[in-house]
């Protein structure tokens, strides 16, 4: 067992995070098994409280949808969007950050101005613009969430590269005749990655929160079972049947908490000195 894995398993945050994550994954994986019906379809009389009907464990919402089934199918949507958006954000951020940090000078200046431009426009508002221009299909939303989130990983990678590129082992490799690509990908990147991996969990959490916020406002893809969407739908019956909004919110909370805790566990394991923010 590697020392990093052992350190991860010593971290209570990491273990709790993995446990919650397994819970969410099981919900997502078993959605078709336990709830084979379309989660958006009518499952019974609307607004049945949880426990009222033994067949509908968490009750129904104001559109008569089965809340339990919706939650499980929603887990798939959240995880899928979160994962793809994170890959887009971290991938793009790492590429740009690596180039800016490695070459410095005018390349860095130019790339950093672009990064600052993206950081200056509030990312949720930029997301709204992208949705307004390109529509709200699942693919568009996923990539758009990735596109508004790449700046933080980019800055992180850039900072790592700037500090590592003058490390003596990188200079030594350069002195041995290693080309730039070799220096970037084989010497620096592997040493710059641990904080990025830790940060990816934060990106994932933020992506899931963003999608749910978009769905809550009714601006996400209406054809998918998104937790935020049900919270939004529950608003009209908030005064009496508040559970319709409450239950999917707990699902979001658990999922985001799972990723934050896993991130903390990774942080304890991979870089004891870096305090993830």
């Amino acid at each position: 067992m590697s020392p990093a894995l052992r350190a991860f398993l010593r971290s209570p945050a990491g273990i709790l995070g993995v446990a919650l994550l397994v819970l969410v994954l099981v919900a997502a994986a078993s959605a078709d098994w336990f709830f084979p019906r379309d989660p958006l379809s009518l499952a019974g009389r609307p607004l049945q409280w949880p426990g009222q009907n033994p067949r509908l464990l968490l009750g129904t919402d104001n559109l008569g949808r089965d809340i339990a089934g919706f939650i499980c199918h929603g887990a798939r949507v959240s995880l899928l969007i979160g994962l793809v958006a994170t890959v887009v954000a971290v991938g793009l951020g790492t590429l740009v950050g690596a180039i800016a940090g490695f070459y410095g000078g005018w390349v860095d200046d130019a790339l950093m101005r672009v990064t600052e431009a993206f950081q200056t426009v509030p990312n949720f508002i930029l997301l709204l613009v992208l949705v307004a221009v390109f529509g709200s299909e699942l693919e568009v939303i996923t990539i758009a969430i990735g596109l508004v989130g790449w700046t933080a990983p980019c800055r992180l990678v850039r900072a790592e590269f700037m500090s590592l590129r003058t490390r003596e082992y990188v200079l030594a490799a350069r002195g041995l005749g290693v080309r730039d690509a070799g220096l970037i990908f084989r010497e620096i990147l592997p040493n710059a990655l641990p904080p990025v991996i830790v940060y990816a969990s934060v990106v994932m959490a933020v992506a899931i929160l963003m999608e749910s916020a978009l769905a809550f406002l009714g601006l996400s893809d209406p054809n998918i079972a998104s937790w935020g969407n049900m919270i939004g739908a529950g608003r009209s019956v908030l005064r009496t049947e508040w559970y319709v909004s409450a239950i999917p919110g707990v699902a979001i909370l658990v999922t985001v908490l799972a990723f934050s805790l896993v991130g903390q566990g990774l942080n304890d394991a991979l870089n004891p000195r870096l305090q993830a923010v």
Binding site: Q119, T120, N123, S245, A246
Partner: protein, 325 residues
């Protein structure tokens, strides 16, 4: 204060290209969008022939080359002409201006609360690191970070407005009561309590984690050991030597996080029907009012730049090592 002045100039000079990139980016985004303004207009009018479309394109300046359009667009924006709002039938600039003060008040309260509460909790946690207050505070921080703000808003409404009836469920002020003076201030404050809580909890969590980490980091530094070797009491070591150094990353973060917070206001203002910039952004997306939406992007970008400028100056005041390099 020559040092800070030079820094201010440099920061301003740096924000010009950033703003330009944003403007060009938005322009290109519109070019990429399927269909142009005229297509949208024709669709609204229920269709039209090619001649009408051509005349309209001429009217809207869409018949010239893309670079010329870009040039005209930039010139227009530089004279603060943001165009007309389709839904309000007023210039976008005035629509935005009406909403700005609500958002400004809301943002500054939320920021102040998140910052100061995060600061205090972070210090308490760091002083009792791994003790029960630290465990409690750190756990709360993780949970706060995971709560979606809009959901928290709804749950607060259920609890404090529906069940307990302590606070109003939405709006900026009580309509039609004609309150003035202190009564008006208190009325607005009562309306803002829940929105501020909903928006700032996530940021409070971020600040508290940052402050805790920063304190722990500074406490390991050599000069803290020096302060102890001088025989200073623990309180003095903390107040005079640790706190100010630990505050530096917090200050940087206010600048970085302000833009995220402004984005968060879209959802929270929508939940609490606050007539601010964020809600306007939401409405303009729903109504497909691109002019207003782009105006909001621009104004919020300028706001973020201004806030960051102030933060940079503050940082330079706090840290004498910063020079205009």
């Amino acid at each position: 204060m020559k040092r800070v002045g030079a820094l201010a100039l440099r920061r301003l000079a740096q924000s010009v290209p950033v703003l330009l990139i944003i403007l060009v980016g938005l322009f290109l985004l519109l070019q990429l969008a399927p269909g142009d303004t005229v297509d949208a207009l024709l669709a609204q009018m229920g269709g039209g022939d090619a001649a009408v479309a051509a005349r309209l394109r001429q009217d809207y300046g869409l018949d010239v080359s893309v670079p010329v359009q870009l040039g005209r667009y930039l010139v227009r924006l530089l004279s603060f002409d943001l165009g007309m709002s389709a839904i309000y039938g007023k210039p976008v600039a005035s629509v935005i201006f009406e909403r700005l003060s609500v958002t400004a008040l809301f943002m500054s309260c939320a920021l102040a609360f998140a910052f100061s509460a995060g600061l205090v909790l972070g210090v308490v946690a760091a002083r009792r690191v791994n003790g029960w207050p630290d465990t409690l505070i750190s756990t709360l921080g993780l949970v706060f970070y995971a709560i979606p703000s809009f959901w928290l808003g709804l749950m607060l409404i259920v609890l404090f407005s529906v069940k307990l009836a302590w606070l109003p469920p939405g709006g900026f002020e009580s309509i039609g009561e004609g309150l003035t003076g202190l009564a008006h201030v208190l009325d607005v404050a009562r309306h803002l309590v829940l929105p501020i809580l909903s928006l700032s909890l996530i940021f409070l969590a971020i600040y508290l984690r940052l402050m805790r980490a920063s304190m722990l980091e500074v406490m390991t530094l050599d000069f803290v050991r020096t302060a102890r070797a001088k025989g200073l009491s623990e309180g003095h070591v903390l107040r005079r030597h640790v706190l100010r150094n630990a505050l530096l990353p917090m200050v940087t973060f206010v600048g970085l996080q302000f833009s995220t917070m402004l984005g968060g206001s879209v959802v929270v203002e929508s939940v609490f029907s606050l007539p601010g910039l964020g809600r306007l952004a939401f409405e303009s997306v729903v109504q497909r009012d691109l002019n207003t939406l782009l105006g909001i992007v621009l104004v919020s970008a300028v706001l973020v730049i201004v806030v960051n400028f102030i933060v940079d100056l503050l940082y330079a005041k706090l840290d004498p090592r910063i020079v205009a390099r």
